[in-house]
C-alpha cells in the first residue's frame, strides 16, 4: 500500500481524500495556491506545499509544479480529485512517467472514453444502447440532412470535444438544421479548438441517471447502483439521489449491467461513472463515461456503506476491491444538495466573500462535507461549491424531511448560497413525486418561487 499520497486539488474533495488517507494510515500531502493558504485542506494534511498564485491556471492546473511538489514530498501516488487535472490524460501520463501512481484509470482508457465518438463506438461494441444518430462526425451539410431525416427531428447537434452543454444545439425542424449546425461548430471551435460535431436523436424530457462503477486490476468490475441527477440548472447538477425515485427494478438492473459491460470493455481500473439519459418508457441511452470520482459520489457511499475514495486508492495500489458485487445492497435513500456560494435569486451569480459565521448541521442521518467554517473566505478564483449536504434515511420521505431540517439548520452568514433553491425544490410537487427531468428546473424555476 502507498506510504504517502499527494492530492492535486483543493476544497472539499481535497479534504475528502485526506480523510480517506488518514483512515488508511497513509500520509497526505496537500498542494495549494496562495488564495488557499488558510484553507482546511492545508491545515488537515500531513504536509502542504504552495504551488503558485491564486489563479487555477497558475497553480492547480500547473502540471510541472504539481509533479515537482510530488517529487520534493516524495509521494508514491497522486489523487487528482475532480475537475482541474482529473481527466487530463497528459497529466495522468506525466505522473506515471515521473514515477508516481496516478489514482485513476490508465491514460489510454481515459483518452478513449474522453472522446465521445470513441466512447460511443465502444458502447455499441458492448451492446450498450446509444442515442440513434450519426456514427462519426458530420463532415458536410448534406450528410447531416440525410442522418437527421433518418433518425427523425428534433435532432441534437453535439461537439465531439464538448461538455457541460457547450457546443450543443437542438434543430427542431429541417429548416434550422444548417444554421444550428454552423452555430454548434463555431461554438465548439471557440470553446475547445475542435469544431467536430455529430448528430443524434433528441430525447425529450430525459432523466439523467448515472451508474457508479469501480474496477480493480484483478478483473473485478462492480457497480454501486445508480444515482439520479435530473435536478439540473443549465446542465449543472444541484441535487443528486440514490436510488432513482422513478426506475423499475428491471430497468435498474439493465442499466447497471450495461454500465458494468461498458467499463469491463474498456480495460479500466479505478472508479468511474457511466452516464445515461432515460426516457419516459425507461429506455436508456449511453451518454458518456466520467473517468474520475464525482462530486456526488457520497450518495452511493451512503446507500452501500462503501468508502469509494479508499477503494480508489486500494485498486490504484494494485489491491483487489474490499468487496464483491454480491456483498452490496442498496440500503435506504441518500440525497445530496450542493451548497454553492451563489445567489439563486440573481441568476445563480457567484458570491465569493467572507463567511462571518457558520453552523454545520448534525443529527441522525446527516453528513456534511465541507472545507468552510466561520471566518473562511470563499475565493473568487475557483468553482463556487463550498459544501455538500447529504442525508441518508430508510425511506425517501424521511430523507427529504431530514434534508429540509438540515438545510434549515445550516447557517451561513456573510455570503449567499444555493440553500434557498434547495428549500424550493425539496417542496416542489414534481420533485416529491420523483418526476423531475433534466430540463425541469430551467422550465419552472424563477427567482419569484424563492420564499
Amino acid at each position: 500500500m502507498f506510504k504517502r499520497v499527494l492530492i492535486a486539488n483543493r476544497g472539499e474533495i481535497a479534504l475528502r481524500v485526506i480523510r480517506a488517507c488518514r483512515e488508511m494510515g497513509i500520509e497526505s500531502v496537500a498542494v495549494f495556491s496562495e488564495a488557499d493558504r488558510e484553507s482546511m485542506h492545508v491545515r488537515l494534511a500531513d504536509r502542504a506545499l504552495c504551488v503558485g498564485p491564486p489563479r487555477g491556471t497558475d497553480s492547480y492546473l500547473k502540471v510541472d509544479q504539481i509533479i515537482a511538489a510530488a517529487e520534493v514530498a516524495d509521494v508514491d501516488a497522486i489523487h487528482p480529485g475532480y475537475g482541474f487535472l482529473a481527466e487530463n490524460a497528459q497529466f495522468n501520463e506525466a505522473c506515471r512517467s515521473s514515477g508516481f501512481e496516478f489514482i485513476g484509470p490508465s491514460p489510454t482508457a481515459m483518452e478513449q472514453l474522453g472522446d465521445k465518438n470513441t466512447a460511443r463506438s465502444m458502447a455499441i461494441k458492448q451492446q450498450v444502447p446509444v442515442v440513434p444518430g450519426s456514427d462519426g462526425l458530420i463532415a458536410d451539410f448534406d450528410r447531416a440532412g440525410d442522418v437527421a431525416a433518418e433518425i427523425g427531428f428534433p435532432v441534437l447537434i453535439k461537439a465531439t470535444a464538448g461538455g457541460g452543454g457547450k457546443g450543443m444545439r437542438v434543430a427542431e425542424t429541417p429548416d434550422v438544421l444548417k444554421s444550428q449546425l454552423e452555430a454548434a461548430r463555431n461554438e465548439a471551435m471557440a470553446a475547445f479548438g475542435n469544431g467536430g460535431v455529430y448528430l443524434e436523436k433528441f430525447v425529450q424530457q430525459p432523466r439523467h441517471i448515472e451508474v457508479q462503477v469501480i474496477a480493480d486490476s484483478h478483473g473485478n468490475v462492480c457497480h454501486l447502483f445508480e444515482r439520479d441527477c435530473s435536478v439540473q440548472r443549465r446542465h449543472q447538477k444541484l441535487v443528486e439521489e440514490a436510488p432513482s425515485p422513478d426506475l423499475p427494478p428491471e430497468a435498474r438492473d439493465a442499466i447497471c449491467q450495461a454500465a458494468v459491460r461498458m467499463i469491463a470493455g474498456a480495460s479500466y481500473v479505478g472508479a468511474g461513472t457511466v452516464e445515461f439519459i432515460v426516457d419516459k418508457n425507461y429506455d436508456f441511452y449511453f451518454i458518456e463515461v466520467n473517468a474520475r470520482i464525482q462530486v456526488e459520489h457520497p450518495v452511493s457511499e451512503l446507500v452501500t456503506g462503501v468508502d469509494l475514495i479508499q477503494e480508489q486508492i486500494r485498486v490504484a495500489a494494485g489491491e483487489p476491491l474490499s468487496f464483491k458485487q454480491g456483498d452490496l445492497v442498496c440500503d435506504g435513500v441518500a440525497i445530496e444538495c450542493r451548497i454553492n456560494a451563489e445567489d439563486a435569486a440573481r441568476n445563480f451569480q457567484p458570491c465569493p466573500g467572507k463567511i462571518q459565521s457558520m453552523f454545520a448541521p448534525g443529527g441522525l442521518g446527516v453528513r456534511f462535507d465541507s472545507h468552510a467554517t466561520t471566518g473562511y473566505v470563499v475565493p473568487p478564483y475557483y468553482d463556487s461549491m463550498i459544501g455538500k449536504l447529504i442525508v441518508h434515511r430508510p425511506t425517501r420521505d424521511l430523507a427529504i424531511a431530514t434534508m429540509k431540517r438540515a438545510l434549515n439548520e445550516l447557517q451561513i452568514d456573510g455570503i449567499r448560497t444555493t440553500v434557498p433553491f434547495h428549500h424550493w425544490i425539496l417542496n416542489d410537487p414534481a420533485f416529491l413525486d420523483g418526476s423531475v427531468d433534466t430540463k425541469y428546473v430551467d422550465r419552472v424555476f424563477s427567482p419569484d418561487v424563492l420564499g
Binding site: A35, E38, V51, D64, Q65, A68, E71, T374, G375
Partner: protein, 170 residues
C-alpha cells in the same frame, strides 16, 4: 505632534507606535485599531498570527495580513519578484518562483552563487531550483546586498518561500 498634518501625522511614526504598544502591554490590550481618512493603525497583542490554526478560523484572520503585521509567507510573490518585508526595514526577500529543491551552489565542490554581504544585481544568479530534473537558475531580479540566506542547501522549497533577504540599494 500631528499639528503639521491633517492626516494625524506619519502613521509609521515609530515613537508613537511604541507609545501605543507600551499602553497595550501596560493595560493588556489585545487590539488597537486606529484609522483617520486613509490612515490606519491596527495593533493586536497576544492572539496568534495567521500561521497558527487558531487565527485561521477566527474572523480577524483574512488571507491577506493586516498592514501592521506583515508575514512573508502570505506576501504575494509572483515568480522571483522581490517583495517588501517589513520586519527588517529597508530589506526585501527574494522568493522562490516554483516548487523544487534549492541549491545554493552549482555543484558540491564549487562555492555558493552568493554569500552574505555580496552585492547582487537584477541578473545575478542567486541559486538553482531543481524541479522535474530541470535545474533552473534563479536571477535576483533586484539589486542590493545579501544580508541573509533563508534557505538551506538542497532544502525543499515551495512557491513564494523566501530564499534571500536583501538590503536594497539607495
Amino acid at each position: 505632534m500631528s499639528s503639521d498634518s491633517p492626516q494625524g501625522g506619519d502613521v509609521f511614526d515609530i515613537d508613537r507606535i511604541r507609545q501605543i504598544v507600551e499602553l497595550m502591554e501596560q493595560h493588556e490590550l489585545s487590539e488597537v485599531d486606529l484609522q483617520q481618512a486613509d490612515d490606519r493603525i491596527r495593533l493586536t497583542r497576544g492572539v496568534a498570527v495567521p500561521v497558527a490554526p487558531v487565527a485561521q478560523a477566527v474572523p480577524v484572520a483574512a488571507p491577506a495580513p493586516p498592514p501592521s503585521t506583515p508575514q512573508p509567507t502570505a506576501a504575494p510573490a509572483p515568480a522571483a519578484e522581490a517583495t517588501a518585508s517589513g520586519d527588517i526595514p529597508g530589506t526585501i526577500t527574494i522568493n522562490s518562483p516554483m516548487v523544487g529543491t534549492f541549491y545554493s551552489k552549482p555543484n558540491p565542490e564549487s562555492p555558493s552563487f552568493v554569500d552574505v554581504g555580496q552585492s547582487i544585481h537584477n541578473d545575478t544568479v542567486v541559486c538553482i531550483i531543481e524541479a522535474m530534473k530541470v535545474f533552473n537558475e534563479i536571477p535576483a531580479e533586484c539589486s542590493g546586498k545579501v544580508v541573509e540566506v533563508l534557505a538551506k542547501d538542497q532544502q525543499a522549497v515551495d512557491f513564494g518561500m523566501p530564499l534571500f533577504r536583501v538590503q536594497v540599494d539607495g
